[in-house]
C-alpha cells in the first residue's frame, strides 16, 4: 500500500494521529482542517451522475427520519436506490405528462349513472300503470349470505340498481336476478325477465321479413346460375336431404318461457339474448367451453356450434334453469286440476301453501320440486314430431322415405312439471342435491340451503314462504368422468373405381 491518494479511502490514515482508532485529534486547528477535508471530499461531484455523496446521504437520512421504517439497516441499500430513482421523477420536463385518468375514475362515473334518479314527473306516470315487480336483490343476497354464497354487498347493490334501470327501459312484466356466470375476460350478470305480452311478437315478425327478403335474393341468383348451367353438362345433384330442422319453441313456452338480458358489469347496457333453438341445446350438451365475456365471440368446437357465444350462453342458461330451478313442494300448483299433469304447462302460486319447517326441508328432498320443465333429448320441453311438418312440403315420391325416418324417432316423454327433486338421479354415488341448514346454532332463524351437484354453482334457499334460486359459477355441468368430445363421423364410402367401371 503506497501512499494513499486523496481520492482513496484510507487517505490520511497512515499518518500518525489520523488513524480511525484515535477519535480525538488533539490539535484543534488540525481537527478543523480534517473536517473540512472530509466535507470537501463528500461534496465532490461524481463525473457520471452529477450527484454528490454529501447531498445523497442528507437525502437518505431525511427520508429515513421522515418515514421511520422498521429494521432500517436491512433495507438501507433499497432506500438508497429509491432516493436516487426519485431524482429522475422530480425533474420538470418541458413536455408535461397528460393527466392520466385512472380507470377507477371512469368506473366510478359509470356507477354514478346508476345512482341518478329520473325526474319526478316520470315517477308519477309510472305509478298509474302496473308497476313491474322489482326483485328485492338485497334481501335475496342476505339469505344467500347465510349459506356463504353470493356477491359482496356493493356489487349486489349495483346489480339492484341496474335491474331497476332495465325495468324502466324495457317493457317488463316480471324480473328476477338469475345469477352470474364467470368468463375469461369478463363476467356475465344475467336477469331473467318476462316481457309484457305483445312486445315479443314484433321482433319475430322482423326476423321473418328479413329471411324472406334474403330468400328472394337467393332465388333470383339461383335462377341466373341455372340458365348458365343448362348449357353445360350438369354434375349429378346430391340426393342428400339434411334431417328436418326441429323448430324452436314459441316465445313464452318451454325453453323460451323467459327472456334473458345480460350485461358484463352493472352500469353497462343490458343486451337481450336471442331465443334458444333445440339444435343449440343439443350441441351445447356435447361441448364444454369457457365463456370469454364477449357476446359476439365465435365458439370453435366439434360438433360445430350453430351460433356464437350469445347463443351458447343462452343454451347453457336454459339447461341450468331446467335442471336446477326448484321451489318448495306445494308452493306452485297446476292452474287447472282437471288437465293431465303431463300436459300442464302453467302453474300458479298456491295461496294455501303452508311452508314446512326448515329442519324438514333439509332432511328430505321430497319437500322441493322443480318448477321448470326438463329439456328432452330433442332440445325442447315438448316433443314434436319433425316429420309431420315436412310432409306438407315434400313431393309424393319422398313420402315413403320420410315415413321410415319418422318411425325411428320415438316420442320422448319427459317428467311432468312439478316433480319432486328426490326423483333426480345422482351420478354414480353422488346424489343430485345436497341440502343443509345454514346454521345449527340458531335453529329459529336458520335457512334451508340446497346445492346442486349436477350443476356446481346452483343454489336455492327456502325460509318460510320465501325462496329463491341463483347461479354463481362457470356455467358447466359436473361429470365424474372427463369430457370426451364427439368423434368425427366415419369417412363416407367412396364410389368404387377401377378398370371395370
Amino acid at each position: 500500500h503506497g501512499p494513499y491518494q486523496p481520492h482513496e479511502p484510507g487517505y490520511g490514515l497512515d499518518q500518525p494521529g489520523y488513524s480511525p482508532y484515535e477519535d480525538e485529534i488533539p490539535d484543534a486547528q488540525a481537527r478543523m482542517l480534517a473536517i473540512k477535508n472530509a466535507k470537501a471530499y463528500l461534496l465532490k461531484t461524481s463525473t457520471k451522475s452529477g450527484l454528490n455523496l454529501y447531498d445523497h446521504f442528507a437525502n437518505i437520512l431525511t427520508k429515513i427520519l421522515d418515514e421511520q421504517p422498521t429494521n432500517t439497516v436491512d433495507i438501507i441499500e433499497n432506500i438508497s436506490k429509491d432516493v436516487k430513482w426519485a431524482q429522475f421523477r422530480k425533474k420538470m420536463d418541458t413536455l408535461r405528462d397528460e393527466h392520466l385518468i385512472p380507470p377507477t375514475f371512469e368506473a366510478a362515473e359509470k356507477y354514478k349513472a346508476l345512482f341518478v334518479k329520473e325526474g319526478e314527473e316520470e315517477e308519477h306516470e309510472d305509478l298509474e300503470d302496473e308497476m313491474p315487480s322489482l326483485p328485492n336483490v338485497m334481501e335475496t343476497a342476505f339469505y344467500f349470505e347465510q349459506a356463504g354464497v353470493g356477491l359482496n354487498k356493493d356489487e349486489s347493490y349495483y346489480i339492484f340498481l341496474a335491474l331497476k334501470n332495465l325495468i324502466n327501459v324495457q317493457p317488463i312484466q316480471t324480473c328476477r336476478f338469475w345469477g352470474k356466470i364467470l368468463g375469461l375476460e369478463m363476467n356475465y350478470i344475467i336477469a331473467e325477465v318476462q316481457l309484457q305480452e305483445g312486445e315479443e311478437g314484433e321482433e319475430t315478425g322482423e326476423e321473418g321479413e328479413e329471411t324472406i327478403a334474403e330468400g328472394e335474393k337467393e332465388m333470383s341468383e339461383a335462377e341466373e346460375e341455372d340458365e348458365q348451367k343448362e348449357k353445360e353438362a350438369e354434375p349429378p345433384k346430391s340426393t342428400y336431404k339434411p334431417p328436418p330442422e326441429i323448430p324452436k319453441e314459441a316465445n313464452g313456452t318451454g325453453t323460451n318461457k323467459y327472456v334473458y338480458f345480460v350485461c358484463n358489469e352493472p352500469g353497462k347496457p343490458w343486451v337481450k339474448l336471442p331465443p334458444v333453438t333445440p339444435a343449440q341445446i343439443v350441441c351445447a350438451r356435447k361441448i364444454k367451453k369457457f365463456f370469454t365475456g364477449r357476446l359476439d365471440a365465435p365458439i370453435v368446437s366439434f360438433p360445430p356450434f350453430p351460433g356464437n357465444e350469445a347463443n351458447y350462453l343462452r343454451a347453457q342458461i336454459a339447461r341450468i334453469s331446467a335442471g336446477t330451478h326448484v321451489s318448495p313442494t306445494g308452493f306452485y300448483q297446476f292452474a287447472n286440476e282437471d288437465e293431465e299433469e303431463e300436459e300442464a304447462d302453467t302453474y300458479e302460486e298456491n295461496s294455501e301453501f303452508e311452508p314446512p319447517p326448515v329442519a324438514e326441508m333439509v332432511e328430505s328432498l321430497t319437500t322441493w320440486a322443480h318448477h321448470v320443465k326438463g329439456i328432452l333429448k330433442q332440445g325442447r320441453c315438448v316433443w314434436i314430431n319433425p316429420s309431420q311438418k315436412s310432409e306438407e312440403n315434400e313431393e309424393e315420391e319422398d313420402e315413403e322415405e320420410e315415413e321410415e325416418e319418422g318411425g325411428e324417432q320415438q316420442e320422448e316423454r319427459g317428467l311432468p312439471l312439478l316433480t319432486l327433486i328426490s326423483e333426480d338421479e345422482g351420478m354414480k354415488d353422488i346424489p343430485a342435491w345436497t341440502a343443509q341448514a345454514s346454521t345449527n346454532l340458531i335453529p329459529e332463524y336458520s335457512v334451508a340451503i340446497l346445492q346442486s351437484n349436477r350443476w356446481p354453482g346452483a343454489y336455492a334457499f327456502a325460509s318460510g314462504r320465501k325462496f329463491e334460486n341463483i347461479y354463481f359459477g362457470w356455467g358447466h355441468k359436473y361429470s365424474p368422468e372427463s369430457h370426451t368430445p364427439e368423434l368425427p363421423p366415419p369417412a363416407q364410402a367412396e364410389y368404387p373405381s377401377g378398370p371395370e367401371i
Partner: protein, 217 residues
C-alpha cells in the same frame, strides 16, 4: 382448511382441517406414493375424513402391493385431502413478483420493501410467480437470465404455464383489485390490490382438477 407458515416460507407448511371451524385436526404430510395414488381417485369428496376409497377399483397394482405388505387396499379421505391441498399449492399457489426475497442462505422471506405492483404490471401474467420449486428457470436463455434479479426472480412466472390461457385475469371494482382465477383448479382465486401490500389466494371448490381444460379453451 388452514395453513401454517413459518418465517422461512420455503419450509414445509403445516395444514389443519376442520368441519365446523371449532375443532381442528392436523394433517400429516403425504408421501410420494400416497400423492400419486390420490391423483387417481376421482369424484367428489365425501365430507367424512375417515371415509375409505376402495383402491382395487382405482389402481389394482397399488392395491395388490398394499395387500402384500399386510395393509388394507384403501386410501383414506384424509390422505386424499392432504394430497389435493399440496397439489393445489404447488400447481397454482401464486404470489406477486417482488413480494418475497431469497436470502443467500437459501431461505425465503417476506420482502418488507414490497409496495405492490403497479397497475400496468398487475395486468401482466409475467408479474406473478408460482410459489413452488422452480422448474423452468434453468431453461431460460442466458440473455433472459441476465435480466433477472436473483433475490426476487427465483421462481417460475405464470407466463409459460401449459396450456396457455389457463389463468383468467380480471380487474374488478373499477380497477382497484386485480383477480386471477385458475382454470386448471376451478375455484382458486388470487387477489391483489395494486400499489399496496395486499395479496392472497383462497380455494373454494370441489377439490378436483379440471382435466377438460384443453377442450374448454
Amino acid at each position: 382448511l388452514a395453513e401454517g407458515l413459518g418465517p422461512d416460507r420455503a419450509a414445509p407448511r403445516s395444514r389443519l382441517y376442520s368441519l365446523n371451524c371449532l375443532d381442528w385436526s392436523l394433517l400429516t404430510p403425504a408421501t410420494k406414493e400416497v400423492l400419486a395414488l390420490a391423483e387417481q381417485v376421482k369424484g367428489r369428496f365425501q365430507g367424512d375424513p375417515s371415509f375409505e376409497y376402495n383402491l382395487s377399483e382405482i389402481n389394482a397394482e397399488a392395491a395388490a402391493r398394499l395387500i402384500e405388505s399386510g395393509k388394507e387396499p384403501v386410501i383414506k379421505e384424509e390422505a386424499r385431502l392432504i394430497a389435493t391441498i399440496e397439489q393445489i399449492d404447488k400447481a397454482v399457489g401464486i404470489v406477486p413478483r417482488g413480494a418475497f426475497v431469497k436470502t443467500p442462505l437459501g431461505s425465503v422471506h417476506e420482502n418488507r420493501h414490497f409496495e405492490g405492483l403497479s397497475l400496468v404490471e398487475a395486468k401482466k401474467l409475467s408479474s406473478y410467480f408460482h410459489f413452488a420449486e422452480p422448474v423452468n428457470l434453468k431453461n431460460k436463455t442466458l440473455l433472459e437470465k441476465a435480466d433477472l434479479d436473483p433475490s426476487t426472480d427465483f421462481l417460475d412466472s405464470l407466463e409459460h404455464d401449459i396450456p396457455r390461457g389457463s389463468w383468467s385475469i380480471q380487474l374488478e371494482r373499477g380497477g382497484t383489485v386485480v383477480v386471477l382465477r385458475s382454470l386448471l383448479w376451478l375455484g382458486l382465486t388470487f387477489y391483489h390490490v395494486p400499489m399496496t401490500k395486499q395479496f392472497g389466494y383462497v380455494y373454494f371448490g370441489t377439490g378436483e382438477k379440471n382435466l377438460d381444460l384443453p377442450f374448454m379453451l
